[in-house]
Symmetry: C2
Subunit: 192 residues, 2 copies
């Protein structure tokens, strides 16, 4: 009962996830996904009605993955500042791909900002998840403008990824992540 079907569906999503990241949503064709998975191009309609449906599925798995990553950050420490550091380490840890291709979330949102509103709303979902989690951390620190700080941190991480990728500069990436950690530490100190 659909065991192979579910398997194929998952493989399509995984291949699309990588290709959307490496080449962008619009620059990824059904043929590209077919070449990687070995599933004939024509079959895709069975698993997904439209290309947009594949994007939705990809975003949903990304949300799930980041949710799990945030749980790991939550378990990393009972200190909210340290938890935010742990999240920053995720970006620093994927240094190579960030310098090469940028942030998977940010670059998708930038691309789809020029597309339909439906795709914008969908691609934004991961950012909403991260912003709300960050906001909770800053709240726990004791900041009254926790949501503003969450936007600032997300913003600065995105700027960092964009610059590091554009200038192919991993040294900048690490320096900037260090600066952000110091910025968080100072926020913690100012509240204690």
């Amino acid at each position: 009962m659909g065991t192979k079907g579910e398997n194929n569906r998952t493989r399509i999503i995984e291949a699309a996830d990588q290709l959307f990241y490496k080449h962008g949503y619009n620059q990824t064709s059904f043929s590209d996904i077919a070449d990687i998975t070995g599933i004939p191009r024509g079959n895709f309609y069975y698993y997904f009605k439209t290309k947009d449906d594949i994007l939705a599925a990809v975003v949903e798995t990304r949300v799930k993955q980041y949710r799990e990553a945030l749980v790991t950050c939550d378990n990393a420490s009972d200190n909210p500042g340290k938890r935010l550091h742990a999240f920053l380490d995720i970006m620093a840890g994927s240094e190579d791909s960030v310098v090469d291709t940028g942030c998977p979330i940010g670059s998708l949102c930038v691309e789809l900002a020029k597309d339909t509103e439906a795709l914008q709303t969908k691609s934004r979902e991961v950012f909403v998840l991260l912003r709300d989690w960050m906001s909770r951390q800053f709240e726990e620190i004791g900041l009254v403008d926790a949501n503003d700080k969450a936007m600032d941190l997300l913003s600065r991480m995105q700027g960092t990824a964009l610059m590091a990728c554009t200038f192919k500069d991993s040294a900048y990436l690490h320096r900037s992540v260090g600066d952000l950690k110091n910025w968080i530490n100072n926020l913690v100190l100012s509240e204690s």
Copy 2:
């Protein structure tokens, strides 16, 4: 001698400039440009051998435009901090389009980061211009790490544009620009 030819060439570049911003490079077709300019699709080969050539021409006009904008900033004040404020005001002034479509430079670089290296190098040119100008301002302020600060400012502006666009939040755009002005002011104070 080539008066109409130059005119058509210019009109193609102007239309492409807008379309590359509004819909992205890859999502802009020759037909789109033809529809706006009224120049038949088939004629483009006469003015530009390839689509990449159009991009190069667009980037070159953008470099020229930003160079002029920087001259205006240079003339705005003999205080480098104030000159950087003037540059930030350019972004704040185009609030609507930034929230709607993002930063024209940043979104182009993000898109082409997933394309050939030649296009990446070309699209980066505007950023190089801005970074070097900013670096000169920070140098004049007296900072020893002027180039780092230039990267930081560019980075934070890009993050700001990306978040404002993704969340369709012009209030965040203005708050963040204000924060950046304060950040610059503090850098000036720390050196005086």
